[in-house]
Symmetry: D2
Subunit: 325 residues, 4 copies
Amino acid sequence: MSEIKHIGVFTSGGDSPGMNAAIRAVVRTGLYYDIKISGIVRGYDGMISGEIIPMDAKSVANIIQRGGTVLKTARSDEFRTPEGRIKAYEQLKKCNIDALVAIGGDGTFTGADIFTKEHDIPVIGLPGTIDNDLVGTDFTIGYDTAINTVVDAVDKIRDTAESHDRLFIVEVMGRDSGLIALRSGIGAGAESILIPETKTDVQALLCRLGEGRREKASKIIIVAEGDDAGGAFEIAAAVKNKFPGIDTRVSILGHIQRGGPPSCMDRVLASRLGVAAVEALREGHTRQMVGVVNGKIHFTPFKHAIKHISEASPELVKIVEILSR
Amino acid sequence: MSEIKHIGVFTSGGDSPGMNAAIRAVVRTGLYYDIKISGIVRGYDGMISGEIIPMDAKSVANIIQRGGTVLKTARSDEFRTPEGRIKAYEQLKKCNIDALVAIGGDGTFTGADIFTKEHDIPVIGLPGTIDNDLVGTDFTIGYDTAINTVVDAVDKIRDTAESHDRLFIVEVMGRDSGLIALRSGIGAGAESILIPETKTDVQALLCRLGEGRREKASKIIIVAEGDDAGGAFEIAAAVKNKFPGIDTRVSILGHIQRGGPPSCMDRVLASRLGVAAVEALREGHTRQMVGVVNGKIHFTPFKHAIKHISEASPELVKIVEILSR
Amino acid sequence: MSEIKHIGVFTSGGDSPGMNAAIRAVVRTGLYYDIKISGIVRGYDGMISGEIIPMDAKSVANIIQRGGTVLKTARSDEFRTPEGRIKAYEQLKKCNIDALVAIGGDGTFTGADIFTKEHDIPVIGLPGTIDNDLVGTDFTIGYDTAINTVVDAVDKIRDTAESHDRLFIVEVMGRDSGLIALRSGIGAGAESILIPETKTDVQALLCRLGEGRREKASKIIIVAEGDDAGGAFEIAAAVKNKFPGIDTRVSILGHIQRGGPPSCMDRVLASRLGVAAVEALREGHTRQMVGVVNGKIHFTPFKHAIKHISEASPELVKIVEILSR
Amino acid sequence: MSEIKHIGVFTSGGDSPGMNAAIRAVVRTGLYYDIKISGIVRGYDGMISGEIIPMDAKSVANIIQRGGTVLKTARSDEFRTPEGRIKAYEQLKKCNIDALVAIGGDGTFTGADIFTKEHDIPVIGLPGTIDNDLVGTDFTIGYDTAINTVVDAVDKIRDTAESHDRLFIVEVMGRDSGLIALRSGIGAGAESILIPETKTDVQALLCRLGEGRREKASKIIIVAEGDDAGGAFEIAAAVKNKFPGIDTRVSILGHIQRGGPPSCMDRVLASRLGVAAVEALREGHTRQMVGVVNGKIHFTPFKHAIKHISEASPELVKIVEILSR
């Protein structure tokens, strides 16, 4: 293993709050260890087209608190082809980049895994996604901010729900995973939380709503967009069909969940992982995602990290059962 | 005119942030002038059914900062009938309520106007609606908070738009009025703002998007839900049809716009109007909405207040033209 | 009057949220009217040293939502001397800058007034200060954000005050003016508001606290830093002396009041004034501050604008009296 | 062990955001398991005076999002005496309360530990403090919210610092512990973080400031109030003494750090611990604090929990060293 002298850092896939904090940490750790850092703009697409810019302390000044990613992100079809990856590698060589830090989710790491098999360049991955669905880290960068955003939005919706004694069905992000729904639903004090990981029993839900009707209180149901019973509109239709008298509204939170200043925890997580990624490259590691498990820095081979978490914490599921009764 | 001894206060129509601050002001002003105050729950519906509760300083402690309305709100079909209004009046008499403060929008004041014509009870109205579309006040209670909520949401969306070079079409509240869209759009730095008050020229919009494409920058378009060109999905369809290459997303902000802690300005406005309403009743006024015009307390007969504002400020429209070029 | 071709814009004095929105509006209005815009860094200091940078749409992209000022600000001793002002003028001529937009407070306008008397360059001022103490505008840029920040902080403090039945004395900005204290105090539901514009009667305050003690409730007192009875610590000492049993705490809000993303109203105000300033220069105006009075754009000669507002609105003062009883 | 039929829940010591979420979880878990729940007002003081109120779902409706504690909190001198504790026990017996959930910090648990030794009543403790300094839980309820509040405040302060190229010395809570300072300082991107756990070398700090002066950039130093070099004013004095030219300001964040709506993580943590506490009492446990260690529910005897954590994470300390260079 030869010494790392020049690291390229990029963000790829959906953006998440804290990506900028991670970029900043990579750049400043590079400065600390006297390693040159360049930013690759727009992920693999920019790698192929050579959109590569040198970065220093000034490039990352005053970005720790900003959502999104200053390096931009994109999905690249060309990188899925061997020819695309050859172009990318040539661009890196042209700039003398001899290692990569990839910030993104499973698509990002899948691409990186193939790339490192074909070309001689070490890559360390950072879990940057609001979905928290990667194996090998307790939390992904952006998840904590996203659930705070959801809870803040539902707090607002509850004001209206309470004032009108309404039922609100709020759809949150999570095509394959209910992890945003589960924690934000507990945090929002939701009456029901519907997630893809558990079978949603619409009849039982309607039964409980029927029982609860006498109280005339407002209710909030949180639905992950990938729930097996369909999204918020499907649930609302079932409710309206059974109980036309319940004043039911739907709110799709949508893209506000991706943005905003990162929470302190996301900034700290991103900072820790950014430092660890550069140190891991210095120590000769590659093809691993760095995460935090049980509070400690932890490395997981890409091929394991990209397996989605497919089970919701039984403890949290039980807590929903107890607290929303 | 006899002396007012017991005022009933209620909220009606859609809830808006600052209604609680208004209720608090009415109650505390009653205490100050030694007038009894009762809260009528769920608007005209609760008036008919007699859901009337005594209120004191304790009832309104720690509510100034809360969104929604502690007195709840509802729309009442029964109150639209003379029989309903007779029942309502009888309930008020039973409680010795001899004056009313009605917090709500045009529907609320229309009801109050008819009620005061049929029954001998003075009513003063407070403009509580996020729409800011009433004649007789520069701002309605809740408008300032709503536009802050929109701007905060668009700030988050812009993080994602910037990171992906996306076009976002964001739909905000305003079925008949573009006043939320106009100010929040300027505040969010939107590239276009589509409102019902001005003819929306979709072709011109597409032209500008076409010109701007070369810059590859992110763009935000704000659409009032009542815009003549249709809502956000219609605009998005037109864009996708003409420019399939533009990465276009839609976000419907929805009910988060109604809730949340009121802004300082909304709390101050609600406090001023609550005090003025009680003082106006003491001085023998009735069938008027109290607002603030040019910074000063101003009274407008209900029949004028409920005429919607149907024109957008030409200065603001021109500012959009200049700044979004 | 010759045609304006190149405007220099700068911020001076204390920073305030919305200054960036104003800078953005000036730059984009320049683009609209085909006027070149340069930014002068660090106010009059940068004018003297020639820190002048060209600005275009890109320079002001994505800054409307950011607090502080991208052009930085400073206080300049050298500009107080005729020699300093000569240097400044020469730098402007060297860059062919033929008009100025000055964003700041009374010190900024005083400097501009003298400068325009000595040198042939038109200047329009924008009121950028959180203090809201300038004649000629209903609100200054930054005031609305500052009072929202105070109210948000006091909402947090009240959580603790309520939990412990404590008295909190909260000091807010306002060396010469109680305008921040007055509106934020009403918005925060403070029990007392102490401002320099009205004589503070500490004995009467203590009396009321004594009466209120039986209720054992929490209390919030807002003090402007320039209050005649001294700051928060002085009031706290008087309370502790008289009522050692009252659990009294002091909180000095300090510099958080200057920062943060501007409110929607501040962004709209800054945008309107930035447009108006450039248009005014085009039309040959000079030595005036542009503000908004009764909702409309309004010009005031510098010499009048810098006279501090020295009276608190009697209506607001009375509202405090009524609502805090 | 006899079956638990009636649990008393109370909060004690300093309030922290999430205490209400914990109370709600205890009450709703009681309902689920058919256990009566009463709230004891004002901690041990209310226990002695018998301020005990029955609680049901309605008592805890709409409180999950509120800072502070609806049960209020106080420090009790009388409970430190055997006589006081006898009175407290008698009040509990009078109400047939046969178990306790104590939400608070080390003082709370010390009191509970003694109480359970003298009197036959099981107690489970919940870590409710912003300080995060208890052994036996990765995070205390309120810590996550507090560091978000700090980071949000410093983001605001940085706007001003940047605009003026100022040095800000920000003092955060933490008399014995730098845990708030450490994470919030990393999250805020502070240039230095001074904590009691590590020896603060003021000379080295001044050296680095001296080197950094040439950059003329703004700087933020975070100081824990219990730092060995003194608080923010002491540091500021040393800086001003050595570098009179550096524009140095102090901000003491103070009590805003305790309040505000709890973060999602704090609400989830409080909910999990509230459920676990009731279940632990049902299963016969006592004299333990329930926390979360490595993501899992974990019980720690009171006598161990109250030993303060006296070491800062070496990894985080190193990260500060690397990133703030």
